[in-house]
């Protein structure tokens, strides 16, 4: 209950504001609902679009393939791929952290990482539909151009200030042969529990390790779970 309330705290706040307004001034409350009407209608024309597009991008443009393309390729090609990777990905900026960490380990440059993080944050293909609807297609297009240019310059500037050695690359200290679930990234999708039910379980919408010790063996499924976790929340040390 508390958790639900916290999650929907904002909605609760708006509902209470409406109730208050109804008591003080009924006409204004009704007018407010009417005024919301237009925006609700607009939202309904883009929400299914954003929903479908997110799913389609997820099905047909797999992140991993693009990550492989990136490697340590920098320069113009690298920045295009980075912007593309960021733009097709769903979720807030912190969902990009583990992905970028993996890329850094694979040798991606700081420039590319900054470009991915930034475009992950501001440029989202399904979101462009939303922006065009509520502001205007022209607004959306111009902002997109400026932001893209800005992101490239930003990547360049950060890569001048920060060197590779400044970034902690080493694995988190996991004991040998153990599993660690990084709670802040786990979205509770349940994939790990499905792949490796002997190791993972979902509790309160988060994965927990029922068995922290890796057994090893040829048909050990823990590796696959680590690989398939969409947010890369699982770390294993062998």
């Amino acid at each position: 209950m508390m958790k639900r309330l916290r999650k929907n705290g904002f909605l609760a706040f708006v509902v209470i504001a409406y109730i208050g307004l109804f008591i003080i001034n009924k006409e204004k409350a009704i007018l407010s609902i009417k005024n919301s009407g237009y925006y609700i209608k607009e939202m309904l024309t883009v929400m299914p679009l954003v929903f479908l597009l997110t799913a389609l991008i997820d099905t047909w443009i797999p992140q991993e393939t693009i990550m492989d393309y990136l490697g340590d390729g920098s320069g113009v090609k690298g920045s295009f791929i980075s912007i593309f990777l960021g733009s097709i990905s769903a979720g807030p900026i912190y969902a990009a952290f583990p992905v970028c960490k993996t890329l850094l380990r694979k040798g991606a440059s700081i420039f590319n990482i900054v470009v991915i993080l930034s475009s992950w944050a501001v440029i989202k293909i399904p979101m462009l539909a939303n922006e065009a609807r509520f502001l205007s297609p022209k607004f959306m297009a111009i902002r997109w151009v400026f932001t893209t240019i800005g992101i490239i310059i930003m990547g360049y500037m950060v890569s001048k200030v920060v060197k590779r050695d400044d970034i902690p690359i080493e694995e988190e200290a996991i004991e040998h042969g153990k599993i660690l679930i990084k709670e802040e990234y786990c979205i509770g999708c349940g994939i790990c529990a499905k792949i490796a039910p002997g190791y993972f379980e979902i509790e309160n919408n988060r994965a927990i390790a029922i068995d922290e010790n890796i057994h090893g063996g040829v048909d050990d499924d823990v590796d696959k779970a680590e690989e398939k976790c969409p947010t890369r929340a699982i770390a294993i040390s062998k």
């Binding site: 607009e42 939202m43 997820d58 993080l117 970034i167």
Partner: protein, 160 residues
């Protein structure tokens, strides 16, 4: 519907049909994932849409014009950018809100600054970022992004 939205609808629906034909299971699975993501945002989306109604009714447009209009753009822009760094709403929900305020007469410059810092600069995620990429990286990226948010906003003000 404007041409852009219409076009995108056509592309998306055709893509969806092809996708269902090629691999029904995978498509449905991704849709479920996407549904979960949207479901998590639903409360916020409904909240924002009704909040817009309240704002439109209760806040006089003159007030929006005075504080967010074009008279003192720079200060309004910096303040909006700052608010963006501490606000925790997905961009998806921010667009209708910004749209309504702009319709009421707010200048677009502070709005753009807010939109950019909202997603790109995060006080709340700063700790996580510096743990993953080091303090130096987090400070540099967030700092430079903040400055650029304002530059992008000002540039857009010149063009639009």
């Amino acid at each position: 519907m404007d041409i852009f939205t219409k076009g995108l609808w056509i592309i998306t629906v055709s893509w969806f049909i092809i996708s269902m034909k090629r691999d029904k299971n995978r498509t449905l699975k991704s849709m479920k994932k996407s549904k979960n993501m949207m479901g998590n945002m639903l409360g916020q989306i409904i909240g924002i849409l009704f909040l817009i109604g309240l704002i439109l009714t209760l806040i006089p447009p003159e007030m929006i014009k005075e504080y967010l209009g074009s008279s003192n753009t720079l200060i309004a822009t910096i303040v909006s950018a700052l608010i963006g760094t501490i606000t925790l709403i997905p961009a998806f929900v921010a667009f209708p809100l910004i749209g309504s305020i702009v319709d009421m007469g707010a200048s677009i410059v502070p709005s753009v600054a807010f939109l950019t810092t909202l997603t790109m600069v995060g006080i709340v995620t700063f700790n996580l970022e510096s743990r993953e990429f080091g303090r130096r990286f987090a400070i540099a990226r967030n700092g430079i992004s903040f400055v650029f948010a304002i530059l992008i906003a000002l540039a857009m003000g010149v063009i639009l």
